[in-house]
């Protein structure tokens, strides 16, 4: 039943990120559904955190809006459950370790399983520190997604070999956010990743145009886009869904044609 694996089977995958509760519970549900209708193969649902140290200003803003509107981990589970009723594509949570730790690993992953959330991305839980959560996640069949960065070098082998779900390849140094250019030698990194990986690898961080998406998808198994989508929410507020549909459509068209 591995939904994450399935998402990469049809070809290159497009992964879209949206923050739960940004700017409201209902609008974030509509935005996620718009992205799915526009052809997204997987959705990352962000559980907002007060101090998102790996995020640029766009997603920081989304976290703040969502928290101010009362989004919580429990509400994010409700949102994911509502989305799950409408779709079979994989859903993964993206948040920081503290909200998961504080919720309780067992309670968190048990709810993921119950609702049908397939994985978890925690930027502040590197390979060496994922052990204590991973053990419990595995018990419930939830994948903890590992990241590989431009600085990973010798670490690529151990990370790639033990990765679960899919590999998140961080395109650039620094934090999330739209970049006009991605200068990292991703071809070289992907070459190294391909030697060891047992699961698909998708590239994220800074991808904002169909041209970039096409380029990244050509190098890997998929593309992850966050800030460029959240920027639309920032601009259109509760009425962002049609704009998100149009944008995600342009991105999925670019990715799926490869």
């Amino acid at each position: 039943m591995n939904r994450i694996e399935n998402a990469f089977k049809k070809g290159k995958a497009f992964v879209g990120f949206l923050t739960a509760g940004d700017p409201t519970f209902d609008s974030s549900f509509e935005n996620i559904m718009a992205a799915i209708k526009a052809g997204a193969d997987m959705i990352e649902i962000g559980i907002p955190f007060s101090d998102p140290i790996a995020e640029g200003v766009v997603i920081q803003g989304a976290d703040l809006r969502a928290l101010q509107a009362g989004m919580t981990t429990d509400r994010a589970f409700e949102l994911a459950a509502k989305v799950r009723k409408e779709t079979d594509i994989p859903l993964v949570f993206m948040t920081y370790l503290n909200p998961v730790f504080k919720y309780g690993y067992d309670r968190f992953f048990a709810r993921c399983k119950e609702i049908g959330v397939d994985g978890l991305i925690c930027p502040d839980m590197p390979f060496e520190e994922k052990g204590e959560a991973d053990e419990i996640a595995k018990k419930y069949g939830i994948s903890i997604i590992s990241m590989i960065a431009p600085t990973s070098e010798a670490r690529i082998k151990s990370i790639a070999e033990s990765a679960d779900g899919f590999l998140y390849i961080v395109s650039s140094m620094g934090v999330t956010g739209v970049r006009s250019e991605i200068n990292t030698d991703l071809a070289a990194i992907m070459e190294s990743v391909k030697k060891y990986k047992k699961v698909p690898a998708a590239i994220g961080f800074g991808v904002s145009t169909p041209e970039q998406a096409e380029k990244m998808a050509a190098l890997s198994d998929g593309v992850i886009v966050g800030s460029a989508i959240v920027r639309i929410v920032e601009k259109y507020g509760e009425k962002a869904a049609p704009e998100i549909y149009n944008f995600v459509k342009s991105m999925t068209d670019a990715v799926h044609k490869i």
Binding site: F49, S50, D51, I53, A54, G56, V57, Q60, L67, T72, T73, D74, Y96, L97, N98, P99, V100, F101, K102, Y103, P123, D124, M125, P126, F127, E128, E129, S146, M147, I148, A149, P150, T151, S152, E153, R155, I159, V170, M173, G174, V175
Partner: protein, 394 residues
């Protein structure tokens, strides 16, 4: 302690982008901390530049006035740049040079670590950028200008609560975008390993000296040593060489703000719970969902929602005691030590002095307390005046 863990606390919870760099830092520190040349160079800087060893001062008048234990102050306020922060930055900046870095970044709350970092960077020809919460740049405007005089660039941080934790967030974001030429010179015994260990080692000079000094002066160990605790660097420095002296009480004084039951507090041990944040597993002020709580203290230097992992550990095994001290108590102590001993200490240090004033009278005349005066209080004079309703601005 192994693998950066103090019991269950500590660790390296940072984005993958930083992991390699943190490992490199670990290796470099492992190497240079044992290198005789590095040790000699740092020792020379401490003696000839930072004014070490710092005095262990017998506060005779306070001892008499409080009528109990004999009181000594470890005078870190007399160090160059006016606080214990210089001990750490000289070590880290020297390490940065040895690692071939050309730029350092640092967070600062009250500005003491920022000033110290800018000072060491000026001395060692390192480019320096400081992240400081916008609230704090207003509370400590003089220190901002001081850092600029020293050649540093100060970035006011406008995210979140615009205080120390947000400055740490921003410094981490900056570092993750630029590791090749940059070392993040963290100011406290917090963050991912090896920072808590490294900062503690550089600060442990405080207790190394104090232990020798008190044995020389009194021929015996103190009954208690105490210090204020935000992240906890001067306290770790004050505690470290006494940890194995089981009879010496270790007392950390947290900033309770308006009181631990008011919600306007920064007392992590008193009000926090276990979490993972800023690269470490430790205790944090947070809500039921793990969102980091806004904290408050009159002292910008203690205004931090967490505590270093080694403190969390010492607390968990009962080796150290931690007590909350309110704004009011700290301000009273600030005024008391000024009038009684002629010392204007930092409002951070005044938290320790306040608790000292509570416990000294309850102790015997042959008891000895060493209290760390972590910094001098010139920077706080205007804020204290305002606290007393006097409209004084820098």
């Amino acid at each position: 302690m192994s693998n950066g863990r103090y019991g269950d606390f500590g660790g390296q919870y940072v984005p993958e982008t930083l992991m390699n760099e943190i490992h490199k830092l670990e290796e470099a520190y492992e190497h240079f901390s044992k290198d005789p040349d590095f040790i000699a160079e740092l020792d020379k800087l401490n003696r000839e530049y930072a004014n070490r060893p710092s005095l262990l001062y017998y506060a005779e008048k306070m001892t008499r006035d409080l009528g109990g234990a004999k009181i000594y102050f470890k005078r870190e306020d007399l160090n160059h740049t006016g606080s214990h922060k210089i001990n750490n930055v000289l070590g880290q900046c020297l390490l940065a040079k040895k690692m071939g870095k050309t730029r350092i970044i640092a967070e600062t709350g009250a500005g003491q670590h920022g000033v110290a970092a800018a000072t060491a960077a000026a001395l060692m020809d390192l480019e320096c950028e400081i992240f400081m919460g916008k609230e704090d740049t207003i509370r400590q405007a003089l220190n901002v200008y001081r850092m600029e005089l020293l050649g540093a660039k100060v970035h006011p941080v406008t995210t979140g609560t615009m205080t120390l934790k947000d400055a740490v967030n921003e410094a981490m974001r900056d570092w993750s975008s630029r590791v090749d030429d940059t070392l993040y010179v963290l100011g406290s015994v917090m963050g991912p390993h090896p920072f808590p260990m490294m900062v503690r080692d550089f600060q442990s000079v405080i207790s190394r000296e104090a232990r020798e000094q008190i044995l020389e002066l009194e021929g015996k160990l103190p009954t208690a040593v105490m210090a204020c605790v935000g992240g906890g660097s001067n306290a770790m420095g004050m505690f470290y060489n006494f940890i194995n002296d089981k009879d010496v009480r270790l007392i950390g004084c947290e900033a309770a703000g308006r009181g631990v039951h008011t919600g306007e507090t920064a007392a992590t041990i008193a009000t926090g719970s276990v979490g993972v944040f800023h690269g470490m597993k430790s205790l944090f002020c947070q809500n039921e969902y793990g969102q980091i709580a806004p904290v408050y203290s009159i002292s910008a230097g203690l205004d931090y929602p967490g505590i270093g992992p080694e403190h969390a550990y010492l607390h968990s095994i009962g080796r150290a005691e931690y007590v909350p001290v309110t704004d009011d108590e700290a301000v009273n102590a600030f005024e008391y030590i000024a009038r009684t001993e002629g010392i204007i200490c930092a409002v951070e240090s005044a938290h320790a002095v306040a608790h000292l004033m509570k416990i000294a009278p309850t102790m015997k005349k042959d008891d000895i307390i060493i209290c760390c005066l972590s910094g001098r209080g010139d920077k706080d004079v205007a804020a204290i005046a305002r606290y007393r309703g006097i409209d004084l601005h820098e």
